[in-house]
Symmetry: C2
Subunit: 321 residues, 2 copies
Amino acid sequence: MSQRKRLYIQEVATRDGFQNEKQFVDTDAKIALIDALSECGYAKIEVTSFTSPKAIPALRDAEAVMHGIARKPGIVYTVLVPNVRGAERALSSGVDEVNLVMSVSESHNRANLRMSREQSFAQLRDVINVVKATPVAINVSLSTAMGCPMEGDIAKEEVLGWMHRFADLGVHGITLCDTTGMAFPSQVGDLCRSARDSFSALELTLHFHNTRSMALANTLAALDAGIDRFDSSLGGLGGCPYAPGATGNVCTEELVHMLELDGYDTSIDLDRVLVASAQLPGLIGHDVPSQLLKAGRRLDLHPMPPAETVPEQHAFAKEGS
Amino acid sequence: MSQRKRLYIQEVATRDGFQNEKQFVDTDAKIALIDALSECGYAKIEVTSFTSPKAIPALRDAEAVMHGIARKPGIVYTVLVPNVRGAERALSSGVDEVNLVMSVSESHNRANLRMSREQSFAQLRDVINVVKATPVAINVSLSTAMGCPMEGDIAKEEVLGWMHRFADLGVHGITLCDTTGMAFPSQVGDLCRSARDSFSALELTLHFHNTRSMALANTLAALDAGIDRFDSSLGGLGGCPYAPGATGNVCTEELVHMLELDGYDTSIDLDRVLVASAQLPGLIGHDVPSQLLKAGRRLDLHPMPPAETVPEQHAFAKEGS
């Protein structure tokens, strides 16, 4: 019956969001949150990261979380994996997918991962060879694909070149990440069209940050170019070390709110997402960037103020706005 | 030489923004800010509001501000005017344009202006008759044109109907206002196409709020429908009484940043706008919503951290994002 285009929403808050939080989120609370998210209609949930507990203490409970959650059929439970050791831990935990990461920018790769891109590629190739012997899917997230905070513009050919190298290794999906919110709509449209044309067999995901308030505008541009799969983060959790105080990943509830209004089928239960998002401040000890959580959905209506209680100042106070 | 499409940016911070501020901004500071804005390349600046000083004490210095500013040729200096008394004050101050306001929604008009829409229309018709005898231009801002926080959806025909009534009175321009940030992209595109088709002789402005983070996405939709004129507010100043804590008007520097990256010619000097925006917290006593002010422009680059200072936790900390 429905003519609405199906989109796939992938939640990253418990990995990309929590890894940046100073306050450790209790393992049971992580499990309860992920179980709640599993009832929200996501296509994929990035559960945690199998990195060294010393490197990311916030996610030191990766095994316990993966084993504790109630897996819902149909949802892909993915985890970040930096190397073969992490891949082995992830495979032992029965993940559906591993997500590998490197930067398209040499400077950002060195700053973030402390090795050259070629060293990262060699390390990830080893991981791919291990995982390819199993039924577990492999996704590669390419950071700084729309700009590097140290180098600036990244040539589209550079991004497509790294996509080719990973596609040749047989990965299932690639995520183009706007790591520090440098993407703008016409750039996104151009990159997405080229990526779609060149890699029609790959599962292609766009990963936006709202650092400069363009995440939803960039999403429109990606949709226009045929993209149907988006990462997003509950509450807009996830920061950017190069922009202190700036907002983080595109906010799941704001993304879904817009997409559903625009007639897309995200399969997401926005009520449940908002309930889950409202719990975040209690878990991490601070407010989240989500504006939708503050303002409510567009049709969450307000009562008419009784005439006698309208303060004098309020008359005309919003004129013209 | 340039093939870039010209867009017209209209600054509303000193009216739509300041009127909501508790802290009175000193008259000299207002004048200095507007003089700085006059050097930024705006098509229009909404200077102040000729309402009753009791109704909006924040703008009680309307005459002094209008007389104090250095008017730059080519910029339209407009002011909000609620009635004939306000129009007379505005005309005495030598404004280029008066901006009249009413809501498309009956409930919002009653809550905001404490009269019915028909009463507002009659009052504004009187203003138009006074101003039409002068060379001063007349713009009408239609509030809640994309949704009412009390009534919900507003039929497009309702908006077009009010536009017709004002067009018949001979106004020069009409602004469609998303007063509480309820607009979404496909709705904006549809309304703008209809408005453009029906009123090709009118100067048509779109006025977005970022309450639910869709202001820049809605701007893309309006551009797509041929709109070339946008209100915006320095720093994102301007609130929404129905969404406490939510962001306000679309932020000038974020709007211009995106539009220029997308290849449009706004004629705005973004450097100067950012300098002006950075002064706002000192004037109003609190932070502004602008993310761009925190994050900087996309090509404001950062130095590469020295290898030995990259903390252990930072390695992998931003992976996948």
